[in-house]
Symmetry: C2
Subunit: 695 residues, 2 copies
């Protein structure tokens, strides 16, 4: 959602140190002793792993807010009238979704809006659980409380809170977040809607100057919204020119429907954006304004205000700083999406793995057929995905904890961390989950294509997670931009060797030029040593960062900063992904180290190793190309990765069980924990077999 | 759909030489002179490419049967009552789909069943065009004519043709292809349904012995089918034992609904498989048989027959040969799916590229925004995909031509070629298209998520192309199995060096050990030389083949053939993909060479180079690991690949236009060739702007 990282470098002074601090996390001193400790975990070949204590495992995996999630699940379980059927027309789905949300809030005693401010961790847990019930419900909740409600509270002041809090909380005031326009999504500074101050009447005039400025994809707009937070260029009458001065994008509360009659208000034209790929329980609409007048008080004036006589005041010195502060308040949406995406991935992996353990096809001559998870190809599809699910689980939990801390302390350093972390994790996780959903469907063959088994709706609903709250490609560029700024800050005017020194200094002792001796080490203990894994991840990131900076400097001379950025764009996206992968690995290693239960820790270590080696293998070309690994080591990595897939398969059931998703949440008949086929045949209308000869 | 490649090695005697002949295609002598000719095409940097003659370009791209496709398009264009709306309940969609098919056949004068036999190329062209109208229609057509009709004609004899041809042709006899069971899809030999001959009444008794044997996913079964071709184990009374003898899987025509009343017949239980991820215009059902009696004549007896006194006769000597012959007749389905998948990819790429040329976002400071196809990241997403679309276009056309030739001549050599080629291309193309549809949606951001812009339905409908008519992972194993058999046949008992000689002999002169000198060549002329590209592709395939054979031999000793195959499965899948990529490249190079128009040829050469270098770069780790390319060359390949993406972007519009898909076929408002945004806003109900200031 933020502006182009090149074109607006000066807009970002506040975020200069974000990523440096992130990399400090990477090199936390606490890590090294633990790494030594981990090295003593018996290697996989030496000892067969097993889950000795499933309860301890599940307990370690549960979030702090598991109880509220169970409450959401149980509420909907007790209300069959609120369950979303497999096939439901869009119009019915939208009404059902509103009923689901109202029932949860008014009857289920879950008050998301309060959590948003009192304890965001609880809010994210509720939204995640609601998303498991129906992803439209999770998003509808996000529109109401995080976007519409969040914009009123975070961008407004006390007067707005007093006027709107209760109505938003109890759903009397469903509302919209009207930022995106037909022509502008990512480039928020390019929005064309205007808000002109009329000093004569003490009002703002909201206007859509051309069809490209129609507010588009606005959730809650097509049917249910009473208000919208409209983002528009604030135009103030200028005494000097007699014209108007553009003060930049600001947010305004605009009533769009009559509170009593629900009639669309004069000057507002609302159209239905229609059927979407997914999330059809959310009523997205388009809003066109024709000189709609709103009181001056409707400006959300926390970061900038207009006085009765048309004077502008702000605690922040520039348009760009105000813009950054405004967008900065909206980071919660990204945190929530990344966090919910992990849950979607958990659901999909649970269904795919349980079915792959059930399904048998082919086998050795004259022997029973084997389950399809025994095939190397199926392991290759699902085991690295399972490992990534664990990795994302710990990383996203860390992100939510940091966000909660940020909201409590408003510590500037944490603010910066959360911005970079949420941009990176939202992008990386949602892209990975989107791909995985297709892989899961395919891995489950024909039965994966039955709507009742959920891959279709999960994929369709989740798909847009890659786009909204910040397009993933744009967010990754923000991560890359932050890394580069931190890099530049350190070595401005320095030579190449200073550059390398900087990297050494800032990222600790792990970075070294490829060592022709260690490049050949191929022992399992070495490859499973977190130190080797982290070294490899960080080496890659550091190298990509250094070469990106060099290339950008070179090309900027001839192409300008925009052209140079574009010329290096693929490189920069790889840099950002590489960095995020490191952050995720660090958090995973910490989670392994911190696990109090021995058998759980051993299994988690296995999962963590697969995550690490899978990522290294995926980019083996890069490692080979700089001789960071020799050919023999590359082969050993591939071999161990395949072997770890096989090892994970032996504890796959337990790893899935530890996600603790009961059958009434997974819902897919092919993934039931017992009698799956029977459940499936009954679901299409067959009577149960008299004697279960098949099962 | 065939059996496990390891467990049934001896089943495959007929296919031993398939892939060898395929590789002969790879080394056609005609190629070399053309390669020299191509080397004279000015390299991209030296001369800006452009499409001088769009008409010649489009003409070269058009298939032989473009006219019949236009007829299908125009028929549906003239019949708005037959167009599938964006949102349609499943029940209505199924009825509409039947009406679409009936109208096309009875009013549009298109008779697919006749084309199936008279000129399959026309049939595939019709099915492809029907799929563009609504993919459910294309599949419904395939169920009726290729599967149900095809099984009657190809597996039956004259008596069946006389009895059923007209009813199938004119849709009086809608029918089903009842092969897949709840428990068995890929492993057709594991089907459990039985057909027991009752000598007393001269009937077969069709029975579902357990719920795992319920016929599942049967198209046309839930609603419209009158008959089903049921695949079942033929059980003949044995005079010796007094019991029955299992003669293997055979096909039987079983009436399932009354011809007049449409009532389900006694002993047949039909359930609706319900809502699917996509293709909801096709009524898939489940069939359970309770001792249903059918006349002996209903055995489709081309490859095996039962006499009045219960004696079995066949021109083929073994169960496995008859099984292979039976499945061999069904290869048309794969050809059709691969061919249609290319069209789906064309549609998606057309929409994504046209929108990426329209959509502007961000830009250099104080300059207009740039179109998103100008971003390197967008080029990287879409240009290799565009190149692959061209590559698949020529390869699939070749496949259809070969299939047509096979049906004419029944030449055993062509039969073998078509089997391997269709398994490989169906698998490779449908997997690639499935991934690409998600990439296209994501690349088009929020507007890509509007259902009206089609990515959602294309993806949902196409998804199952990866599974039906042979699961892609299983089909790839067939390709690998064929390659290995051909390999074994050549060097049985030979030593390693003989192995290498074999590879040299059979694959021509291109294969060499990595040469440390050429491994460093990085000039553009070299990298764009088809000889280098083919060498690289073939080197990789040959190496994978050789190492796979060695590993299989090694592991078979300890793990048995099934275990060894599974231990090498990922390797074997990579081998198969590598081989198919080579076949596709060869066909693309031929298509470039054969192009009569100079400017078209120059552009096609550019596209072909991107296809080749993109694939090489995707597996650069492998090439680096064996030092087939040195680090400098790896970098040069990456750089040239990125540059070719940029070059393609400059002719992207023309490359898309050459697909010749008119707006009324692409249909997505964001991809209209003029006034796209206006079309889009009007589509949700806004009035046109009085003056088009935006566009």
């Amino acid at each position: 959602m933020e502006n182009n990282p090149v074109a607006a470098e000066d807009d970002r002074a506040r975020s200069l140190r974000r990523m440096r601090r992130l990399s400090l996390h990477l090199a936390e001193p606490s890590l090294l002793p633990a790494e030594r400790q981990l090295a003593t975990v018996p290697c996989a070949r030496a000892k067969r792993v097993s889950v000795a204590n499933p309860a301890a495992f599940a307990a370690y995996m549960r979030g702090k807010h598991w109880d509220v999630q169970v409450r959401v699940f149980e509420f909907f379980r007790s209300r069959p009238d609120l369950q979303t059927p497999i096939e439901i027309p869009m119009a019915d789905h939208r009404e059902l979704c509103l009923r689901q949300l109202r029932a949860l809030v008014r009857e289920g005693g879950v008050r998301p809006f309060r959590y948003v401010f009192e304890d965001p961790g609880v809010y994210f847990a509720v939204a995640q659980a609601a998303g498991s019930v129906d992803m439209s419900l999770g998003i509808k909740m996000g529109v109401q409380y995080s976007l519409w409600g969040g914009s009123v509270i975070n961008l407004g002041t006390q007067k707005h809170k007093e006027m709107f809090f209760d109505g938003i909380d109890n759903l009397d005031y469903p509302g919209c977040f009207a930022m995106t326009e037909l022509h502008h999504g990512s480039n928020v500074q390019g929005l064309q809607t205007t808000a002109t101050f009329d000093i004569a009447t003490d009002e703002f005039i909201i206007n859509t100057p051309n069809d490209g400025a129609i507010k588009w994809w606005i959730g809650n707009a097509a049917l249910h919204g009473k208000f919208a937070t409209v983002f528009a260029k604030l135009l103030l009458p200028s005494q000097e020119t007699g014209g108007v001065t553009d003060m930049g994008i600001h947010a305004f509360i605009v009533p769009i429907r009559d509170l009593k009659t629900h009639q669309t208000l004069p000057g507002v034209e609302i159209r239905d954006c229609g059927h979407k790929v997914g999330l059809n329980g959310v009523d997205n609409g388009a809003l066109k304004f024709s000189f709609v007048r709103i009181p001056r008080d409707n400006l959300l004036n926390r970061f900038g205000d207009v006085s009765r006589d048309g004077k502008y005041t702000s605690s922040l010195p520039s348009v760009s700083k105000r813009f950054a502060a405004m967008l900065g308040e909206l980071v919660g949406g990204r945190v929530g999406l990344g966090y919910s995406s992990v849950n979607v991935l958990q659901l999909a992996v649970t269904i795919a793995v349980r079915y792959s353990l059930l399904r048998q096809q082919f086998g050795p001559p004259k022997q029973p057929e084997v389950c399809i998870l025994d095939y190397q190809s199926q392991q290759q599809k699902l085991m690295p995905m399972l490992a990534s699910t664990y990795a994302f689980h710990f990383a996203s939990r860390y992100m939510v904890e940091n966000y909660t801390e940020m909201k409590k302390t408003h510590d500037e350093q944490i603010v910066s961390d959360v911005h970079a972390l949420s941009a990176g994790l939202k992008s990386y996780i949602t892209s990975y989950t989107a791909k995985s959903l297709s892989i899961c469907r395919e891995a489950c063959g024909g039965h994966g294509y039955a709507a009742v088994n959920r891959f279709g709706s999960l994929r369709n609903d989740h798909d847009i997670f890659q786009t909204f709250e910040g397009d993933n490609t744009v967010l990754l560029q923000q991560v890359a931009g932050d890394l580069l700024k931190q890099y530049k800050e350190k070595f401005q005017g320095g030579t190449l060797s200073v550059t390398w020194n900087y990297l050494r200094d800032s990222m600790g002792t792990y970075l070294s030029q490829p060592n022709p001796v260690t490049a050949r080490w191929e022992g399992e203990d070495h490859l499973r040593d977190p130190k080797f894994q982290l070294d490899a991840f960080r080496y890659r990131t550091s190298r990509l960062l250094q070469t990106a900076a060099m290339r950008l400097r070179k090309h900027t001379k001839t192409l300008g900063s925009f052209g140079a950025w574009n010329r290096c764009l693929n490189h920069l996206l790889t840099l950002a992904e590489s960095h995020i992968e490191s952050v995720i690995l660090v958090k995973f290693i910490e989670a392994v180290n911190n696990c109090p239960d021995n058998s759980t820790r051993t299994v988690l270590k296995l999962v963590c190793d697969l995550y690490a080696l899978d990522r290294i293998w995926n980019d083996i070309g890069t490692y080979r190309n700089v001789d960071y690994v020799a050919p023999n080591k590359a082969k050993a990595i591939q071999k161990l990765r395949d072997y770890l897939c096989f090892q994970l398969r032996t504890v796959a059931k337990e790893l899935i069980d530890a996600f603790d998703l009961p059958d009434h949440v997974t819902r897919a008949p092919i993934a039931m924990q017992s009698q799956a086929y029977t459940n499936y045949t009954q679901q299409v209308g067959f009577q149960p077999e008299p004697a279960p000869v098949v099962l």
